[in-house]
């Protein structure tokens, strides 16, 4: 399927271009500007070139936070994408049960992020929280405020709880837009359930799954409010992810290094999203041929 070539299509995307560029370009330029200057006070700025970038690239705590962040986002994708697809496949296709499922799935997504962290503080408290108390009744000593591993599990669990519904909703909407004719054809051919999933459902979900992977990657990579409220980056630095470290840095030092850090951070997210995007596009075209 070759797309129609027509440069007048630019008129259709012009409104989007203008509205996004309005908020995007000037702030980005300003941050780039900060990143090459030493800002001493109002009107007192010294051009320092790439000094902040060099300082940030050799900062060992940044490397530490980056590795933690990569592991975290990797785990998030590995858990949430398959789980989300699996749940979407089990959902009823129509009727009031489907409506109830959709509404229930949406609930965790609608709570402001700072509130999620706060609720989980109580939820995981061993003395007065449901989760903490249940784990303790099972005889497991669980304390996310002292044990780094437990802190990780708690933050990961909160993240999976909070965001898997997003993957489910996207995958479900993708599944619902597959015409019945495809299933009927598969039935006539005597295709197995796995074959239907592999050759009809999965390729047809490629578009929504690309978005799900990219969204989950970038949002988990930029995660701030939930772990910050729940653990404050601790115990020690166990859950100090990149953005928590960035905020610590930007409040402790002046804007220059923090801006350089932001640019590097942004470029890392960009690089990974580009790789995921290209990989998923390639997989899709492979299926069609």
């Amino acid at each position: 399927m070759e797309k129609w070539e027509n440069n007048r299509a630019w008129f259709l995307i012009l409104p989007v271009f203008v509205i996004v560029a309005f908020s995007a370009i000037i702030p980005l330029m300003t941050v780039v500007n900060y990143s090459v200057q030493d800002i001493l006070g109002p009107g007192q700025r010294i051009f320092v070139g790439t000094e902040w970038f060099r300082e940030m690239l050799t900062n060992s705590r940044l490397h530490d936070a980056l590795i933690k962040q990569l592991i975290f986002s990797g785990l998030v994708l590995l858990i949430e994408i398959p789980l989300g697809i699996a749940i979407a496949l089990t959902m009823p296709h129509k009727g009031w049960t489907a409506s109830v499922c959709l509404v229930l799935l949406a609930l965790p997504l609608l709570i402001p992020w700072n509130v999620i962290g706060t609720i989980w503080i109580i939820f995981t408290r061993p003395d007065i929280g449901l989760f903490g108390a249940t784990i303790n009744t099972l005889g497991l000593a669980f304390d996310h405020t002292a044990n780094p591993l437990h802190a990780w599990i708690t933050v990961l669990l909160m993240e999976v709880w909070h965001w898997t519904p997003l993957v489910v909703l996207l995958a479900y909407a993708g599944l619902r837009s597959i015409p019945d004719a495809y299933y009927q054809a598969a039935k006539i051919d005597g295709a197995s359930r796995w074959a239907v999933f592999r050759y009809i459902q999965l390729p047809k979900m490629r578009g929504v799954l690309t978005i799900a992977v990219l969204l989950r990657f970038m949002d988990s990579f930029l995660i701030y409010a939930e772990p910050f409220v729940l653990t404050g980056g601790g115990p020690g630095n166990a859950t100090t992810f990149l953005s928590i470290y960035l905020v610590k840095l930007s409040t402790a030092m002046d804007l220059g290094p923090a801006a350089a850090f932001s640019i590097i951070y942004f470029l890392i997210v960009l690089l990974f999203c580009w790789i995921f995007y290209q990989a998923l596009q390639a997989v899709g075209t492979g299926d069609k041929s």
Binding site: W4, E5, N6, R8, W10, I13, P15, V16, I19, V20, F22, S23, P27, L28, T30, A86, I87, T90, M91, S99, C101, L102, V103, L104, L105, L107, P108, L109, I111, P112, W113, N114, V115, I119, I122, I128, L130, F131, W161, P165, L169, A173, R176, S177, P179, G207, L214, M218, L222, Y224, L246, V247, S250, L255, A258, F261, S262, F266, V269, C273
Partner: protein, 265 residues
């Protein structure tokens, strides 16, 4: 079939546990929450909800949030629909680059960007207005809307467009009468996601507002006081933040669930 339903029900129950706990907390006083573990609140009270509904600094937060979220959702959908159609159907100079550039606007860590944002919007005199927050949220919602809608539009065979044009439909009429009904599911999902991401966003909304347009998520940080957090009040406010979004998804659920029937043209 039995096993499938069992898995789904089990997952939904796990999903509801933290929300149940929030509901549980919202029906108890702060002292009661901190004192003991109770699976079902023994002394229920609606004080937390009464306080929110009787204090205008609380409920105006909900109204402000709803105003800018609605403006944002409408702007996002109206601008993204034609753009997504262009990306799914046409090849033009810079199409792939613009498409990916749109999404890069979601990829910047917000912390350091807040100051330039504040400066930009104060230059235009927009600070503390609903439209400022709605516009700022377009930065991440419009790209998302374009991407989701493009995915759904690409799933519609291009023969439908060709047939419609041969039948003598003009482009606007084809788009509104034929094409949009075909991607209802996509529009429903997109509207919900725009609503959701704008509703829960805190940093930009808090930076761009002071009093008149202050969102509910920022109001909630008020529960932190010298005596610690008022957990009950916070939980009640949290329960109430879920309600508008739950209504939105209830209205779009049929568009989500019905999918679309081909061959309507």
């Amino acid at each position: 079939m039995r096993k499938r339903h069992f898995i789904l029900v089990f997952y939904l129950i796990l999903l509801m546990l933290p929300i149940y706990w929030m509901l549980n907390m919202s029906l108890r006083t702060n002292a009661d929450i901190m004192r003991s573990f109770e699976l079902f609140p023994s002394s229920m009270t609606l004080d937390n909800y009464i306080k929110i509904f009787s204090d205008s600094s609380w409920y105006s937060g909900y109204i402000n949030s709803m105003i800018y979220v609605s403006i944002n959702t409408v702007i996002s959908l109206v601008t993204a629909l034609p753009a997504a159609y262009a990306f799914s159907r046409f090849r033009f100079i810079g199409d792939k680059h613009v498409f990916f550039w749109l999404l890069t606007n979601r990829m910047a860590p917000p912390a350091v960007f807040l100051l330039p944002f504040f400066q930009l919007y104060s230059t235009f005199g927009l600070i503390d207005t609903h439209i400022a927050v709605a516009l700022a949220h377009c930065l991440f919602n419009v790209p998302l809307a374009v991407w989701i809608l493009e995915g759904f539009m690409s799933g519609v065979p291009r023969e439908i467009d060709e047939t419609a044009f041969i039948d003598g439909y003009s482009f606007p009429r084809f788009f509104l009468a034929v094409f949009i009904p075909l991607i209802r599911a996509g529009i429903g999902v997109t509207a919900f996601f725009c609503f959701m991401f704008s509703w829960v966003e805190l940093l930009l909304a808090r930076t761009l507002t002071t009093t008149v347009a202050k969102p509910i998520a920022a109001t909630m940080t008020r529960t932190v006081s010298a005596s610690g957090l008022d957990w009950g009040l916070l939980a009640a406010a949290g329960i109430l933040t879920i309600v508008p979004g739950a209504l939105v998804i209830w209205f779009v659920r049929n568009h989500l669930a019905k999918g679309f029937a081909l061959g309507r043209v």
